[in-house]
Symmetry: C2
Subunit: 277 residues, 2 copies
């Protein structure tokens, strides 16, 4: 079975897309015709997934939105649906877990066995041994938080440690922990200089980049700072700007249009290898 990074790389090429659609279902923002339906969360997400799958390199469900609404069953069903209808699109479960020992094993089981995710987001705060239980799933991946997109991220991540910032140290540690090639990093689009530093440290590691759109990150700066020499290496997430692009019965079409625009904008700023490369 191919590894997560191999599947992601194949998808970057096949879909010609670095765009990831984040699945953060907020029923208060659903179109009127879906509200009140028992299966509204699943129905909304399925429609978004089916309307955008050919345009994306990954889907990223955010587990908090399901957990706050007792919708774990719908999250399971959604991932089963993606597997069945769009098996070529990797699923990144955004959970930002961080724990140790047998607790970390249980979180890994939740992400990879219960939900069947291809990758999961994790916090590096508890150190290398807190990551290992996830790496035991050889064909799965993990993205470690490195420099997050929020202002408060600087409270710890920008502290100076021995001549570099903490987020740079995390990038270096991730390189060291990545003997099996299963790791990526999370770096916000809102800080393109830091994104460029992470790319300088980790030449080829996949970077999951939130913060485009609602949070104000710039597409051109993200590509310039974060893409690899081959013009890939990025999983650029957008959630609200796509999910809630339309408010009517045609919301999925509107979401598709928004995703197509963002994918095209991203692609305009990508390095392209010339024929024969």
């Amino acid at each position: 079975m191919p590894t997560f990074v191999e599947r992601l790389s194949a998808r970057w090429r096949a879909a010609d897309s670095l765009l990831c659609v984040g699945l953060d279902p907020d029923p208060t923002r659903f179109p009127a015709h879906l509200r009140g339906r028992d299966d509204a969360i699943f129905a909304f997400c399925r429609a978004i997934v089916d309307a955008t799958a050919d345009l994306v390199c990954a889907f990223k469900p955010q587990i908090a939105y399901f957990a706050s609404q007792r919708a774990e069953d719908e999250l399971e069903e959604l991932i089963v649906h993606i597997r069945r209808r769009h098996p070529e699109v990797p699923v990144i479960l955004d959970a930002k877990r961080g724990d140790i020992g047998s607790t970390a094993e249980h979180y890994a089981r939740e992400a990879f066995e219960r939900y069947g995710a291809d990758a999961v987001t994790l916090s590096p705060f508890m150190g290398g041994d807190s990551i290992e239980p996830y790496l035991a799933y050889a064909e799965r991946g993990a993205f470690l938080l490195c420099r997050t997109s929020n202002a408060g991220g600087a409270d710890l991540q920008m502290l100076e440690v021995g001549g570099e910032r903490l987020f740079e140290r995390i990038a270096r540690l991730a390189l060291a922990w990545n003997r099996t090639g299963q790791l990526g990093l999370v770096v916000g689009a809102t800080y393109p200089r830091e994104l460029a530093r992470v790319r300088a440290i980790c030449a080829d590691m996949p970077l999951l980049v939130p913060g485009i759109g609602a949070q104000g990150g710039d597409v051109a700066a993200t590509l310039q700072s974060g893409q690899t020499a081959a013009g890939a290496g990025l999983v650029i997430n957008a959630s609200r700007a796509i999910l809630y692009a339309g408010q009517g019965e045609d919301f999925a079409l509107q979401a598709r249009a928004a995703a197509a625009r963002l994918r095209a904008e991203i692609n305009r700023h990508r390095k392209r290898q010339t024929v024969g490369d």
Copy 2:
């Protein structure tokens, strides 16, 4: 309504106990007569709770054990049971969440509205603004990871930042973030010197201390390093050493005996205020 810290302080006094029982249900370790029952997780935890409630200052369910087993319903039911039968015992949901903005709001809703926890464990990695959505629940609390009990915790937490260690900086930040008195810190019993540093920085803040028992932390050193001037301030967690003290049909009685022994050992090392204080 009293705040979380007020309720915890009241419980320290009323139960004369700093012991917290961690609810980490692992069905492979359950007594034979419970295995295979549909409600085994709930039945096991309820028996432990009812057998130990009068001996503890708090219960700490670890959500990963429930999530990996599709047992969210049983976790809800368990906390409802604690509320109903042992309303004086605070419930700390061990979830180590860490995210921003509306995602953090959904995690706060999960912990405090869905599960009805009195407090939750959080990662400080994403900074002060990632904590705020939890503080919006004025009568609830949050424990921030500071110096964790695992060896890998040193990878980040022991880095030197401007003349102190990162865990010390986190303790100082927590003081600054704690305008409303809702915060505590998580410091492992396996590092008593760091526990003493945190107590020196945060004179009165509640410290949740894992790492006693299976992980090798020492009770005497924990008390010496971590108790407040008043001989309290600690929530000393034990999970496996209590949950799996017995393997037979009397497992709850065995758990009670183990909890009573540990509570007594903790109390032997507490400062006691003299009459008239």
